[in-house]
């Protein structure tokens, strides 16, 4: 489904960093991919690249056979809206905006019918329908992350990309969030997650380890 070939990404602010240093990676539907590695090794960069939020300097990227590295910014945005859902470490909900409206946001950028029903279903799925009228600052971190996951799910994307989604949560809440991802995966959604959470090893079907912008190990986990 996702084919990244020889991707290179270099940052030149200050010292030169090869955040992606020739990464080749194929991800197929239904996988639960965990990405691990030391800080600064390029995990987030890889995730954003996969989700069309960032682009590579060199290499090829195709999604479902389409050369998306040749897409215009508009095409990338539309495909991102349809295909991916993002979950971040710092929740990234819009402040002074209710949970409901936060989850509604992706649907505003796609012509969707029955948006309200979809929002309700997404919020119920992650168990925070009762918080639909709350602003982000009126919720716990765990609840905020659930709303963020609902926002990622509301467009029914094929792939959820999560960047340390439990990084700002205590271990108990973190485990609950991991359980949620497990359920989402069980329903057939592909999950790619960057994390230090040890629970990952329990759920992932594949573990990729990175170092200095390179993939140093890529193991399928048998279940």
């Amino acid at each position: 489904m996702l084919h990244l070939k020889n991707a290179r990404k270099r940052f030149t602010a200050g010292e030169v960093v090869n955040a992606l240093d020739g990464v080749t990676l194929n991800i197929t539907a239904g996988e639960f991919v965990g990405i691990i590695g030391p800080s600064g090794c390029g995990k987030s960069t890889l995730l954003y690249t996969l989700g069309l939020l960032d682009s590579v300097d060199e290499g090829e990227y195709s999604i479902d056979g389409m050369r998306v590295d040749e897409f215009s910014s508009r095409q990338r945005a539309l495909l991102r809206n349809k295909k991916f859902g993002f979950v971040f470490q710092s929740f990234n909900l819009i402040s002074r905006t209710t949970s409901f409206d936060n989850v509604l946001l992706p649907l505003l950028y796609s012509q969707t019918r029955g948006a309200a029903t979809k929002v309700q279903r997404a919020l119920e799925q992650v168990g925070v329908w009762n918080k639909r009228r709350n602003w982000p600052n009126q919720m716990s971190g765990g609840q905020q992350q659930r709303v963020a996951i609902a926002r990622a799910l509301v467009t029914e994307p094929e792939i959820i990309l999560a960047d340390e989604p439990t990084g700002n949560l205590d271990s108990k809440t973190g485990s609950e969030i991991m359980d949620l991802f497990k359920k989402i995966h069980a329903k057939g959604t592909t999950v790619v997650m960057v994390t230090h959470n040890p629970d990952l090893l329990e759920y992932a079907t594949r573990i990729i380890e990175m170092r200095d912008g390179k993939i140093v190990s890529d193991k399928k986990v048998k279940r």
């Binding site: 939020l53 910014s73 991102r80 990234n92 819009i94 505003l108 950028y109 467009t155």
Partner: protein, 399 residues
């Protein structure tokens, strides 16, 4: 994102920062207020002038005492001096011209305080022929006007404005005095145009012209009104009148002019003033616009993370651009509407408590709204482009 959602988002964001939005609006409000109020005042004056131009037909020619200066403007200092025009000038014109109509009207100014019982009123008593009232934009509302017979018989009749009659507590059929002379009131009029030549000089009293000559013990007249037979001939008729009188007087100690033309000139001057008003107030709109740009830049910077989030969930650059443009346009649009509202209130009050009759036209409103929207687009564009171009990854990391 639908336009409706865009408006909702923009309104919400403006409301969340309502004090800041309001302060930003002020610049536009003041600019639009100034332009609309001044244009309304100018339009009001033009409307009144338009009334005069219609009162004076295109065939009307006015002869005034005193030489005109080189630009053709009558010499107003000469108005105070004894008039150089005489009653027999009228007969001379009838005999020595071919292009003007045989009925020639004239006006004679006299002095004297108007009194009725113990009531007094300073004003402008004028002796006129029936056609000369054209000069004063009046309309008889009670009683009647003079007729030729009143002039022939030198009837001591007087016609005055309702306002003057009120102040003197005099009614049609009663007698009143101008100086030592007694007159019977036969009619009351109202002045058609509030800016008419007369109102600035106080109340007006009209008496038959020959009576005025009799009281003045002089054949002098102050205005002669002639009409060319055809509109096409009006300029040739002016020349004919000027040449005839110059021959008779031996010098050009008078002015011949077309009142409608003069008023048109004034109208044109006001038009030029209007453009100046638009120009000057555009500067204040420019200042207001820069204020908007400044605030929008701050807003965009503050909401960098939100922009990152929107992009992450699939907002295109176009959608972000539209969102911020709508916000700035909404800001200037609301500012324009408030400005127009305030200008409307001011114009209403001015019409009520001053001789001005400001008129806010549809064109003015459309122009003001247009200027607001254009300012919103122009000054909102740079911030909106900045928002749209933000790199989503760095935007998401923004603190």
């Amino acid at each position: 994102m639908s336009i409706f959602e865009n408006y909702k988002t923009a309104l919400k964001s403006l409301w969340n920062n309502r004090l800041r939005s309001f302060l930003t609006l002020l610049g536009i409000v003041i600019g639009v207020y100034a332009v609309v109020t001044l244009l309304a005042a100018a339009q009001g004056v033009q409307n009144q002038i338009g009334g005069f131009v219609e009162d004076f037909g295109p065939r009307t020619i006015l002869v005034m005492p005193g030489e005109s200066d080189s630009s053709g403007t009558p010499n107003f200092a000469a108005q105070a001096a004894p008039s150089t025009l005489l009653v027999d000038d009228i007969d001379y014109l009838k005999a020595h011209t071919t292009l003007i109509e045989s009925v020639i009207d004239y006006a004679v100014f006299i002095g004297g305080l108007a009194t009725h019982g113990d009531k007094k009123l300073t004003g402008m008593p004028v002796g006129i022929t029936p056609g000369a009232e054209e000069l004063f934009s009046i309309k008889i509302v009670t009683g009647r006007n003079f007729e030729q017979a009143d002039l022939d018989k030198k009837n001591r009749f007087i016609v005055l404005s309702e306002a003057a009659a009120d102040k003197l507590a005099v009614k049609v059929g009663e007698t009143m005095n101008i100086g030592v002379d007694k007159f019977e009131v036969i009619g009351l009029f109202k002045i058609d145009q509030s800016l008419s030549i007369s109102s600035a000089q106080g109340e007006m009293f009209l008496i038959p012209a020959p009576v005025a000559n009799e009281i003045n013990k002089s054949p002098q007249v102050n205005r002669i009104v002639v009409h060319s037979k055809t509109v096409e001939d009006v300029d040739r008729a002016i020349t004919e009148v000027r040449e005839a009188l110059t021959t008779k007087h031996g010098t050009t100690d008078f002015t011949v002019m077309k009142p409608s033309e003069i008023l048109k000139t004034v109208d044109q001057i006001i038009n030029v003033l209007k453009y100046m008003v638009i120009g000057i107030t555009s500067i204040s709109l420019l200042v207001g616009g820069i204020g908007i740009m400044n605030i929008m830049l701050v807003t965009v910077a503050e909401r960098t993370r939100e922009i990152g989030i929107r992009k992450a969930v699939g907002a295109t650059e176009g959608a972000i651009l539209t969102q911020f443009l709508i916000e700035s346009v909404l800001l200037t649009l609301i500012g324009s509407l408030i400005g127009i509202g305030l200008a409307a209130i001011t114009s209403y009050l001015a019409a009520k408590f001053s001789p001005l009759e400001p008129a806010i036209t549809g064109t003015t409103i459309m122009m003001a709204v247009g200027m607001g929207v254009v300012a919103g687009v122009i000054f909102g564009l740079l911030p909106a482009v900045r928002a749209a171009r933000k790199n989503p990854v760095t935007a998401l990391k923004y603190e």
